[in-house]
Assembly symmetry: C2
Homo-oligomer: 333 residues x 2
């Protein structure tokens, strides 16, 4: 680093704002389609030419666009990930990752560090039926559509025959739906707030698995889970909860599993040093900013929690080719 590097950190928030604005205006798609001047883009994106010109120049500096004379083109990563027509489009993710709730939470980060938990009102984003989770479910579709099938394959669900699956905090539902898609004998129960389940339900219908997809509305912490599950999915969920709540939930999950059944946690799982790998370790700050007691629990912490809940131990896997990690715990047969 250097003084420039430090100043760059001071101004890093401007990069997020610029890329979010580019996505909100669908600017990258427009450029991908060949509209390549500030004037043309202003018409297409319903904005002022002056605003578009300054935004495009900034996005060029950041490396998402290329500029030749007065004409702009997409850099390769913008073409792959930010043009809505690309199969790898992830633009919607920014609406959640840098959405108003998160920006507000990070705007109060100093207060969150002082109190050791979110400085948002009440329970932060864990307040019952907080609308952020519907937005989140829609925004995270690209991740689920890509990683759901990877996870189902990693768990080899197609070799499992008849199986009963519980998808806890299902969100968009795409992890449980991938299991149902790869295993035509799988039945999936999706648990989440009713407003979020509406999103999962749409996706189950679109995937043609609605007949084997049941909704369980409510909070994972208080609802009756049922029993006899061969697989319980805990995707990006334990991180939101404090340690004691995690252990209580894991005890409920253990009791709901059939003998030999698997509980699977996918998410940000740092090493025990808490500072590696970078993306996993960095995620803890978002949990501090937005939840009362959540954390990016380490491999060792999760292993101890699962053991305390009755599991014999855990196995850690990478979800290649992503940088995600998967923890698998089995109820003894």
């Amino acid at each position: 680093m250097s003084l420039e590097g430090v100043i760059d950190l001071f101004l890093a928030y401007q990069r997020t704002a610029a890329v979010r604005t580019g996505i909100e205006l669908d600017l990258f798609t427009a450029i991908g389609e060949g509209v390549d001047t500030a004037g043309g883009l202003a018409v297409r994106c319903q904005a002022e030419e002056r605003g578009v010109r300054i935004l495009c120049d900034y996005l060029t500096v950041v490396g998402l666009l290329r500029k030749q004379g007065d004409r702009y083109a997409l850099a390769p990563d913008a073409a792959a990930f930010l043009d809505r027509r690309s199969p790898a489009y992830v633009g919607s993710v920014v609406i959640s990752a840098a959405g108003d709730t998160n920006l507000q939470a990070f705007g109060r980060l100093t207060a969150a560090v002082r109190r050791g938990g979110t400085a948002l009102d009440a329970d932060g984003t864990l307040a019952p039926e907080h609308p952020v989770w519907v937005e989140f479910a829609r925004a995270m579709v690209p991740g689920g559509a890509f990683m759901g099938p990877l996870l189902a394959r990693q768990l080899d669900v197609q070799a499992c025959g008849h199986m009963k699956v519980l998808d806890v905090a299902a969100g968009h539902g795409l992890y449980g739906i991938a299991v149902a898609t790869q295993n035509p004998a799988a039945e999936v129960v999706a648990l989440d707030w009713p407003n979020v389940l509406a999103v999962a339900c749409e996706h189950a219908e679109a995937a043609g698995v609605a007949g084997r997809y049941r909704l369980l509305p409510g909070s994972a912490l208080t609802v009756e889970l049922g029993s006899g599950y061969d697989l319980v999915l805990l995707v990006h969920f334990l991180q939101d909860l404090d340690r004691g709540t995690c252990e209580r939930l894991l005890r409920k999950v253990h009791a709901a599993l059939a003998p030999g059944g698997r509980a699977v946690a996918l998410g940000f799982i740092p090493n025990d040093d808490r500072v590696s790998p970078p993306a996993h370790a960095a995620f803890a700050l978002a949990m501090l900013a937005t939840t009362p007691g959540g954390d990016a629990y380490t491999i060792g912490e999760l292993d101890r929690m699962f053991r305390a809940a009755g599991f014999a131990g855990t196995e850690l896997h990478d979800l290649a080719p992503t940088t995600e990690r998967v923890l698998i715990a089995r109820r003894s047969p």
Copy 2:
């Protein structure tokens, strides 16, 4: 870049929040003084240990801290620039660069691009006596303390003998004060809002030049500038104004200069391609977000504006060893 690079842009705002919180808690100074555990830092910074631990781990991932076991130390750049005891401390800059007004302005960036100017209320930060400029004057002291003397030397003011200097939008006043310090025969007039001039006045007294320092309260656009100046300083100011206002102001400046006198603009001055050098070009977005019509005017644009105001032309200089640029225009003798 890569998918990780794109996601990194989506989350860049979290880095700014983390470093701002570290500075607000004076965490870097505490670590520099040898308080090196989350528990010790929690006591020292009046925060919860859990919050401090998560923040320190994040700052380690970002590269500002080093971690060994459970102990933290400053990385070299944090020691140089973020420990309040360092002569090169610039921590206060983040309070302005990522202050609430700027965060709010960038939170409305999409609306700003649509309308071609700030989406803040009224005139954005250009509203008369906007309190952000007092905060700005105090926050930018490290920059002025370092660059003021560099600029005064570059202008060789000590060889000028008796001279009359006008410091337009003086802010902390440190550019004009540096001229008065290097040339004991210089008289300086500082022009700014009254609430901001209070800050400049403090600095003039501290530098021992108050006897040759006169205050001219008001707006540079409407106040009577006076005449016979040998030097008019326009530091980080033209960028805030729209093109027409710049030209009107430069005409006033030209008329206020003595024959042979110099007008000097220091600030972010991109090349005519508008996308280089990076820090200069990127600055235009902040002007779009916070002002109705400001911009990072290019070398060519500024030259045309100065010519239109009556100057014969401009000369561009680097303010080595910084990355700042200085434009000098002379009234014909």
